[in-house]
């Protein structure tokens, strides 16, 4: 097989090459390093770890000497820059954490290492995961894998582009309001936000604790199922992780959608009706029906409130989570004064970027005395309402389908001047975070600008297998798309 074909392979196929000793991990790692070099201008990675080759050699030794190796032996992964890996920098794409070296390793990262993975580098992102275009990175934006004029999406833009440009076999992102699914959609890869509590958040720098999950980004659906099984599970370090046994997602995927009850939400699709991509969504609905599923239009009252509700809850939690960055313990100190209060203010003002500052202030607005009931408490009520409604839907339906975003990736600079227009981009993705249910983006063709589009599939809590079944069916059988 040619080198340029090898880097395009997914986890399962590459693993075969390594295990059969057709190629070594070192060889594979070098192939990815040259891909990284080639696509360096995309600015997907903030750092390539200099010990990647050493680690690959160690794993090669293990394989050669016939030792038992892990489920990801010798494969190369990229992690988002908000994930701690002991001894490596983790900056959250912020100037504030420019020099922060992780004193411990995140559980999700450790799980990759335990399976003998090679972690090749850390991926660009929006600062502290706040943004949907990767334009909020203190280290420059990340370009779309398919176009240099378009955004990668965000916040896990670097993680998605790294997979799409074959700089690694798969990557980890984190998804608080769509941060895995939207860049996955924009770059034609598979991205999952699992059920809340499925993957440990320990060692992931927190943005909005009650909403976020680590999510695998892969080249195909089966890889994603395989990777999630490795990442998922109870962790003593994260009280919000779920104790339910992790299924073998690959084995529990079934064939086809025949007999499945699917639905889409009327209120959401109405927002989409004027879009030039509506016909495409309609086409995929027909595809499901033709293949034996039923697809119903359903009503979910107040669903449009999910977006502002999300922004209230996420910013409230973020305000509190980001209080620890104060120029005292980890972050860069900027201080010309001998007054502790001024030290805080000067360090934080110099350290955080504009979007992070806006969100910290919004969080304080909705939490502060006199506003708390009207905003934060009310938002929690709306969240409970939407969550209840959605969970009831899943009592009757196997899955809900919707777009990931309004369309293809937008142009760099197109929305960065207007924060609210950027927030509106998250309309379809925040729903799964608000309700805690699993959701994924699976590529389903290209849009008018020849950029990828993702279809979003949401299922009931802990029913990732069903989500994978549907996504896999789309991946293997759906040939639609206005582009081709």
């Amino acid at each position: 097989m040619e080198d340029k074909e090898i880097v395009k392979l997914g986890i399962l196929e590459t693993l075969e090459l390594i295990k059969s000793q057709t190629i070594t991990s070192e060889y594979l790692t070098r192939l990815y390093l040259s891909q990284i070099e080639k696509y360096n201008y995309k600015n997907a990675l903030l750092e390539v770890f200099d010990d990647a080759i050493t680690r690959a050699k160690e794993i090669d030794e293990k394989i050669k000497s016939g030792q038992k190796v892990g489920k990801l032996a010798g494969l190369c992964f990229v992690i988002k820059d908000n994930m701690l890996y002991k001894g490596k920098k983790a900056t959250c794409a912020s100037k504030f954490l420019e020099n922060f070296v992780s004193p411990y390793t995140a559980t999700a990262v450790q799980k990759l290492l335990d399976e003998d993975a090679v972690i090749i580098g850390r991926a660009n992102m929006d600062e502290f995961a706040m943004g949907g275009s990767n334009e909020n990175s203190a280290y420059g934006n990340c370009k779309n894998a398919f176009s240099d004029e378009h955004v990668s999406g965000g916040s896990s833009g670097g993680s998605a582009v790294a997979v799409a440009c074959n700089m690694c076999v798969a990557s980890l992102g984190s998804d608080t309001g769509g941060s895995v699914r939207q860049p996955s959609s924009f770059n034609g890869v598979c991205g999952v936000k699992p059920t809340y509590g499925r993957i440990s958040r320990f060692g992931i720098v927190a943005f909005a604790s009650s909403l976020e999950q680590v999510g695998p980004i892969t080249k195909n659906v089966k890889d994603n199922a395989y990777l999630l099984e490795i990442l998922a599970g109870f962790d003593i370090h994260d009280q919000t992780t779920r104790r339910e046994e992790v299924p073998n997602y690959l084995d529990s995927m079934s064939n086809g959608v025949k007999g499945m009850k699917l639905c889409y939400c009327k209120q959401l699709i109405e927002k989409y009706k004027d879009s030039k991509y509506y016909s495409k969504f309609y086409d995929v609905i027909n595809f499901f029906v033709e293949n034996g599923a039923t697809v119903d239009e359903i009503d979910i009252k107040n669903i449009e409130l999910a977006l502002p509700t999300y922004y209230i809850i996420a910013t409230a939690e973020a305000t509190s989570n980001l209080g620890r960055f104060d120029g005292v313990k980890y972050t860069t100190r900027t201080c010309s004064s001998s007054d502790i209060k001024k030290l805080y203010v000067e360090s934080r003002t110099a350290g955080f970027g504009d979007e992070v500052k806006r969100r910290i202030m919004l969080g304080n607005y909705v939490l502060s005395s006199g506003y708390f009931d009207a905003y934060y408490n009310k938002a929690k009520k709306v969240q409970q309402y939407i969550s209840n409604s959605l969970n009831k839907v899943f009592d009757d339906y196997d899955a809900m389908i919707m777009p990931v975003a309004y369309g293809e990736a937008f142009k760099i600079g197109e929305k960065s001047k207007d924060p609210v227009s950027m927030y509106l981009e998250d309309m379809f993705t925040v729903i799964a975070n608000i309700a805690g249910v699993p959701a994924m983006s699976v590529p389903y063709g290209f849009g008018v600008n020849n950029l990828p589009l993702g279809l979003q599939i949401l299922t009931k809590n802990l029913c990732e297998s069903k989500m994978y079944t549907i996504a896999n069916f789309v991946e293997e059988n759906y040939k639609g798309g206005m582009h081709d």
């Binding site: 922060f100 509590g197 107040n302 922004y311 502790i340 003002t349 202030m361 009310k378 409970q384």
Partner: protein, 95 residues
């Protein structure tokens, strides 16, 4: 403008942030748009909802009271901009 400079300044103080006067203006504009955007939630007609699908933990699911080793002192303070004798150091705090 609904949220005036005074209010913005109050929020900055709570946030331990500060902006120059010229920046304050654009910040206030952005902030007002954002505040308007979240305003819909305040006005939403949602009756009291039941606890429904909220997850709760039982006491027996909590962590047992068993000691695990601490992190070495040197690693605890490894990222501190200023440290001395194993302590984080800040300018003198007067109570």
């Amino acid at each position: 403008m609904k949220i005036d400079f005074e209010e913005i300044k109050r929020l900055e103080k709570l946030s331990a942030l500060s902006s120059s006067e010229e920046k304050l203006k654009s910040l206030a504009e952005d902030f007002n748009k954002i505040a308007e955007f979240v305003e819909q939630v305040k006005n939403a007609d949602i009756e009291q909802t039941d606890i429904g699908y909220q997850r709760v933990l039982k006491i027996d699911e909590l962590r047992a009271d068993e000691v695990v080793p601490s992190m070495p002192q040197s690693e605890i303070v490894s990222n501190a901009p200023e440290k001395e004798d194993g302590c984080f150091v800040v300018p003198k705090v007067v109570e």
